[in-house]
Structures are given as C-alpha cells and as structure tokens.
Symmetry: C2
Subunit: 390 residues, 2 copies
C-alpha cells in the first residue's frame, strides 16, 4: 500500500487507557485543502463543535484523535480543553493552531486528562512517520475488534494519486450526515468546493447507509485532507477527473463503512437490506433503516429464523407508502409474494441466514426508489458489551 | 372481584397450540354499545381489518380471540377465515354475526386451522360462565408470563357499575393508537359518542405511553363493550357521571398497560421515564420514546450502569427542541445538571438502578411539556426469547 505523498502518522499510549494506544496524530508536510462532515445529533461533543468552526477556512495540516473519552457533555471546560489541544499540537509542530482539527471517542461525560494529553502530544510528534498509519488506526479504536483502513491508487493527468482512509466504529452506529470517526488523506490537488461536493455525496451513499444499533453518536466526524502533492492539474469542476476521484473516494468510504458495519458490537453477521420499488430514495432508505433497527428482526437474524412477518410489521410502521398485498421478500430465494408466504423449505432458508454475510431483498412494487442498508444482528454479546460499559 | 352484570367468559384448548389454552370467548347476554381502537401499523391483520368495519355500527355482543397465530399477512384467505369465525360464533350463540368481533395474536404468516377453531367455538360456548374470565385471560396469552386483568367498581346514580379489563402483551409492544390485545367490559349505560371519547382519551394516556421493543404490532386492538345492565340513567354528555366513568376506565387501562410493560419480554425491571420541561406534550412523548427505544440505554439499565451519556445522545437525535446546556437528569437523585455531570456516588446510583421498578427524570427546562413513558430493559433473556420464535 502506498501512502499519499507528504502525510505522516503516529499512535501511542498517553495513559488515558490502560496498556492500549489511545492518542493518534496525522500530519501533512504542507497545509491541505480540507473539509469535514459532522453528526446531526443536537448534543455535539466539544471537538465536533470546535472542528465545525475551524473547518470553515477549508484548510488543515494536522488532526489529533484520542480514544477512551468522548469529551462530550463536558460544558465550557470541554471546549477549552479542545482549544488547548489544538494549541499544543500547533506549538509542537510549529504550525498555526487553526490548522489543527481534534476528534475524540469513548465515554460521554468525563473530561480529558490534559496533563497526560500534553506529554502524549510530544510523543506523537516524535513518532510521526509515513508507516505510522497502522499505529494511528489502532489508537482511535474503542470497542472495535478490527482496524479499519481502505486505500485506492489511480492516475489523473498521468500523475499517481493515492487515497488512504482510516475509521473507527462499532457501537452507537447510525450515522446521520457523517459517521463515527473517519479520516481520509489524499495527495490529490482539488479545489475546496469540489472537495466538499465529493465528500458530501460519498458520505450520503456510504456511511449514512449503515446502522448497528440505531443510536446516532454525539461525536460522528469525517475529515478529509487533500494536500496537492500528487501535482495533477487542480480539479475545479465536475469533469472526467472529478468523476475519477469521486469513484475512488466512494470506494474508500464504502469499504470503511462496510468494515464499521461488519465490526458492529457483538455482531455475528452482516446483513445487507436491499429495498426496491419504494416511492423514492428517501422512502426506500427509511424502510431499510426501520427494518434494520427492529430488535425483533435483529434477534430473528441472530437465530437464523426466517421470521419474515417481523419485516412486514416493520414495513407497516415505517411511515412509508406501502401496499401490503404487493410486497415481495427474498432471503436467498423469494419466500413472500404479494404479501403472503410461498411454500419454502425452512431448512434451506435457515442455512442461507446462517451465513456470515446475507442479503435480504424487499420489493415494495409501488415505485422506483431503491436503497441498500448495511446492518448487523442483535446478540447476547451485544448485551454483554453494553451492560457495563461505563 | 365482581364481574359486570350480564357478561360471560370462557377459555379452552382448541388444538392450535400444544396443551395450552388458545381460544377465548366473551359474551354479553344483551347487545352492548361498543367501540374499538386499532393499530396504526399499515400492515393490519385480517381480524383488525374485519373489526374496523363491523365496529362502525357501535354494537357488539361477543368477542372471539385466539392465540398462537396472528392471522396477519394471510391475504384473502385470512379475511375469509375471520368472517367464517364470526358466522360460526353467531350461529352457535344464536346472535347476528355482525355482533361478533374477532381478535388474533401469535405468529405472523400462517393461516388459522379452521377445523380446530370450529370445534373450539362449540366448546367455548358450552363453557361460558361469569367466572370464566380467568380462563379467557389465560387463553389469549403468548410469550406473556402473567395474566393481565384490572377491575374497578363504583356508583353512578346509586347504581353499582363494574368495569373489567383483560389484556395480553409482552413483545412487539409499542402501541400507537391502540395496544396489543385488550378487552374491556362494563355494565354501564352510556351513549356511543361518549364511549368513543372515553376510550380514545384513556388509550392515549395509558397504552400509547408504553413501549417494550419499539415494534408496533400488526394486531393491536382494544375493544370495549358497555351493555347497560347497571341500569344507570344513560350518560350522553361530558357531565360529572362521565368524569366518574372516565376516571375508572383510565384506572383499568392504566393498570393493564402497567402489567403489559412489566411483563415485557425478558425484562428484569420496569422503567418509568418522566420528561419535563419539553416544548409541548408531543415533544416530551417523542423524547421519552426515543430514550426508551435506545438499545444502548436499555442495556445500560439492564446492567444498572448509570451511563447517562447515552440518554444525552438519545435526546440529541430525538428530533426535538433541546438546549444541551440546560438538561438535568435524575436517577434517584440529580446526577446531571445543565448538561454536565455532578459529583455522585456511582455505588449509590447503581443500587438505585438495581431495583425492580425505577424512575428516570429528565428536565429539558425549555418549556412546560410533560410525558411519562413506561418501558423495560434489554436483556439476554430477550435475545433468547426472540431468536427462535417462529
């Protein structure tokens, strides 16, 4: 894997967490054109409020991320701590503090241990290297069980361009507008308006289509930095080069979203819910998310139980346009036609549902709206993880 | 407990389920003024569609209920079967079929075994008695672990009036407009418009305020029969007598709703979520239901974990008006003030949350809207119950 030119990374243990990396830094050797999308939750963590303000300039050079503490619901002190972090990173790297974004993930409520963060920042800067992305991706995890990275390489104007994306996320996953934490770096040269457009479009079609538990986080953030060192002629409009870049950005975010869903807390399987024939995209998305959030559907999936009636019930309360006598449902094969069950082998469908990745297709047959939601099952392990988190 | 005058009940095993009562009948010796409220789920079971039609006349004399099969998503056959059931009950009781309502609860998808139902109806009629309400209340249960009855006795015009209510419900509980199955009988004499008003108002303030799993059923039904045998002067407007009746009807439905919530699938505790200071009643209700539906909140409650941050996150995505820096949260005592945590003894709050019935108060401090939602925790046993239901 080739790291985009001019980016360095590190991830270290600062003492917020016991014997685990908990502080990560990513840095571009030159200021990068940058943008971000953030949670729509009205209760926003301090670093989200901070980043939303500084990102307005469209420039970033470094991002500091800690895990273990979300710095959410921390009042004025939380905002002051965030600002202090940016100043410390700026001082240590000898760059302007306004070029430093901050992200946090972990428990809501506690304040950051600023003395530990301060010495941790020094260590992060010392450890910066091109190969440091593995350490960085480890430092930002919480209940995640796998590191989440995605990479794409392509050519624009005969110049090689690389995109590297890194995410975390396993619980409190129902991204709305943004996601759990994701960071994307590229050496592409692109104007700020075009970068905003590409990020917004790719987010809507990837992260906003996954859900683990229906809980939208207070800290969801995607930040992207494009430092231009690939030296292509700058992309400033929706031309062929933009489309090329968008395709690869979509692939990176799509892969990361897939990894976040796959690593959903306690999940034993990944479920792709495909809605067809809805009255428009937003109705299709709503139908898919309602099914994906139903605890009864999620537990049936855990048990590989072809209990399609629970899907019908969820469709009925989703608040969408529906004619129950038209609905078709597929689990490997068509098992419901026009709202009533076909004769099917329970054993065969149970075997299909027993796989690690499954697909459920619902055709409402009243329009042309389509959407695809990625979700997980609801398991004993989910309960174990979440009964004693704090 | 005194049964309202002129009502008889029975509950028997018809063979739909193995060695468990599965068919119940309630009967008034004279036609009763009657009304019903039904699920707002757009996928409605056949008996719901049937009852919604026949109830328009405002008269009922008998209600037949089976458990084990919901007769939902059964297409034309389901509607035909329901009509046949009403005809069989009418013939056997020698009353008009249009005076017979039907209700079903259980698995979605399968059709009713009509030969078993037919002989079962004969047995039900044979067994009718004033004391049969216990058998009836048992016959309508599914995953419920307790029978659910409530009774009130009072005087109007020096005439004794009795109200008896019987419910079932444990899973797929998020009543919207009605509930899981509930049946209320009274010997009160009351006009149809006043009965409708009392039922609608009492339902909104009781059953529509509980949620177990956020899944609104396809079969939710409340039916009420008032046969007038108490011989009071008929209630025809909102006078003192109406208020007296309403208070007792509210008590009966409130008690039944409490029992349904308390018996929530796998629940170890009942949680009363009180929202205050919201921007109106509907925002308060929405805030309460959003918190009650959060899997992260529900699992924390199971673990008696004072993880108030998850409540803040839920408030943030509830789609209501909120100022995070004003929110107070109480768990036994105030633990969050103006959006940030107070110093509190975790042990003390854990002990409070460890009780079988707890109260969480959230004061948004931006308006005067209030609502109280009853819900349950999310447990390993919930997963056990729902992985292999069908």
């Amino acid at each position: 894997m080739k790291v985009p030119l001019g980016f360095k990374f590190s991830g270290i243990n600062s003492g917020i967490r016991i014997k685990r990396k908990d502080l990560g830094l990513m840095y571009s050797v030159v200021p990068a054109t940058a943008w971000g999308v953030f949670t729509r939750n009205k209760v926003k963590a301090a670093p989200v409020l901070y980043d939303m303000e500084i990102i307005q300039d469209g420039k970033l050079q470094a991002i500091l991320v800690n895990s273990g503490i979300a710095n959410a619901c921390t009042g004025e002190k939380g905002l002051k701590d965030t600002k202090k972090e940016a100043e410390l990173v700026g001082d240590t790297l000898n760059i302007d503090a306004s070029l430093v974004a901050i992200a946090s993930t972990g428990k809501i409520g506690p304040s950051l241990p600023m003395n530990k963060i301060e010495s941790g920042i020094g260590l992060c800067v010392e450890n910066l290297s091109e190969e440091g992305y593995e350490d960085f991706s480890e430092a930002i995890l919480t209940t995640d069980t796998i590191k989440k990275m995605a990479h794409e390489s392509f050519f624009i104007d005969d110049k090689e361009v690389n995109i590297l994306g890194i995410s975390k996320g396993s619980g409190m996953i129902n991204p709305d507008m943004a996601t759990t934490l994701s960071f994307v770096v590229t050496d592409l040269k692109i104007s700020l308006p075009m970068l905003k457009l590409a990020l917004a479009r790719a987010t809507e079609n990837t992260f906003n289509m996954i859900t683990v538990d229906g809980d939208t986080s207070t800290n969801d953030t995607i930040l992207i930095m494009a430092n231009g060192l690939a030296d292509n002629s700058e992309i400033t409009r929706e031309n062929e080069q933009f489309d090329e870049f968008y395709t690869h950005l979509y692939n990176v975010l799509g892969r990361l979203a897939y990894l976040v869903a796959k690593d959903g807390e306690g999940a034993t399987k990944l479920v792709r819910i495909k809605i067809r024939g809805a009255d428009g995209f937003s109705e299709a998305k709503r139908a898919g998310k309602t099914i994906a959030h139903s605890m009864l559907v999620k537990t049936a999936l855990y048990g590989a139980d072809p209990n399609w009636g629970r899907i019908m019930a969820a469709l009925g309360y989703a608040g969408i346009k529906i004619d129950p006598s038209k609905v078709d449902i597929y689990m490997g094969k068509k098992i419901v036609e026009n709202g009533v069950p076909l004769a099917f082998s329970r054993e065969e469908v149970r075997n299909y549902l027993g796989q690690k990745e499954i697909e459920i297709v619902i055709d409402l047959k009243i329009g042309v709206g389509e959407a695809e939601i990625l979700t997980t099952d609801l398991t004993h392990e989910y309960i174990n993880i979440n009964t004693q988190y704090s």
